[in-house]
Symmetry: C2
Subunit: 263 residues, 2 copies
């Protein structure tokens, strides 16, 4: 079965551990207990999120408040991944991101920008800010655009919101450039999560609610991947033209039950 | 030569007659006189613009103020073209357009929208307005998005601005839908301008500064097309991979000189 020979788990957070919302969100039944059981089992564990509306510190504090055993050192997130790329390539970003994400870039030289980093800026997606990011990009000899994800939209308690991917497409079109996506489903992003766990892809399982970004992305790295029927899961995902998970599970608790039974 | 057997001219406005700007803009030398000479020659004439930041009335008044002999009845513009499509197909639009364009849709039923019309909304491209247009679209069984142009960006006196095409791409991506472009370079748009002149495409010449939207679009309708070296023209346009104008001219005045000499 799909649960054989596993040494490490990658868990998506929103939609797997909890359902997010302006009120802070609510835990998904059984998920906090499931995380504790993974840790007690000796399996390696990483939380692998595309969250870009807060620093990891703030994000982890919220999850601890919801009852999860999680620490900053266990989280793979797009902003620190972007920082590695920026340092590696000597890039100085102009940031179009959420105010609460800015501290993640504290160590990065942002003077005289030679690239644009776009995240889910939410209220910061103003006409003026979009034009400014565009002008920085179009002014470069060879525009470099890093995008912290490529989501289309998401749901909040007050309705659907356009996600970073939509604004990324606007800048891509205006500047005739292709963005480099830093979070899931980028191969490099999953690979750093695996490296941080010290587990090769064939011994790891990704568990997520997003058929494309979690399941498809992990499988392209040689991992197995499960889709949970919580969070943004929709029954139509089971007929996705390109991606087929190694298995469906009703929720994280069920996945952990099956995996631990096989150990 | 390219100027033979011509009975009608289609003129782009911004970049051919005048250069626009927050100050109202300035006429391009010789263009007002060129328009008068066309009219005196007996050639048919239409102004064919993608302008969507003002009603035709307001737009024409501005051009008259700059010394041009032009009337509302001579202008083909995206908003009235969109109104024909909306009526024809029984579509009730949610409008994401410039405040000054709204009166063009006065006759159109906008209750209980079953499509979205996007124009160059400028300051109306707020986070809230984009989310609202997105929610209307994604809520439809089969989303219908009409876009009043597909420009990438344009220049104003205070800098470059993202044009309607960038926001169109954002909504296309978020809703997994293809917009129907109503202005240039849409075939139907040029065809209505030709029908309004009563001239077949093979007897008409389009004169514009935009290599793709003016020249490419007109040629695909069977017209000849000239690119002027004014407005948004850039020397690199002369190496465009897909589009080659029938001729280049330094400006409208030069084109009209050559055309009238051949009559």
């Amino acid at each position: 079965g799909w649960a054989r020979a596993v040494r490490g788990l990658l868990l998506d957070v929103s939609g797997v551990l909890y359902d997010s919302g302006a009120d802070g969100g609510v835990p998904i039944a059984g998920s906090a207990e499931a995380v504790r059981r993974i840790k007690a089992s000796g399996l390696k564990l990483r939380f692998c999120t595309n969250e870009t509306q807060a620093t990891r510190e703030k994000f982890v504090k919220k999850l601890q408040g919801l009852g999860f055993d999680i620490s900053v050192a266990e989280v793979t997130a797009p902003a620190p991944a972007a920082c590695s790329i920026l340092k590696e390539r000597g890039l100085r970003p102009h940031l179009l991101v959420h105010d609460d994400l800015v501290p993640e870039f504290a160590e990065i030289d942002k003077t005289n920008p030679n690239c644009v980093v776009i995240g889910d800026a939410a209220e910061n997606f103003t006409y003026a800010n979009l034009n400014e990011a565009f002008r920085v990009l179009i002014g470069m000899e060879k525009p470099v655009l890093l995008s912290l994800g490529q989501g289309r939209y998401y749901k909040e308690t007050d309705g659907l919101k356009l996600d970073v991917g939509a604004y990324m497409k606007a800048l891509e079109y205006a500047c005739d450039v292709q963005a480099e996506v830093v979070g899931k489903p980028a191969k490099r992003f999953f690979e750093s999560a695996l490296a941080e766990m010290g587990v090769p892809p064939e011994q790891a399982i990704m568990i997520g609610d997003d058929i494309v970004n979690d399941v498809g992305g992990a499988q392209r790295c040689g991992m197995r991947a499960l889709q949970v029927r919580t969070g943004k899961y929709r029954p139509s995902d089971e007929n996705h033209p390109d991606v087929k998970p190694d298995a469906y599970v009703n929720n994280l608790a069920e996945a952990v039950d099956i995996i631990l039974r096989q150990l």
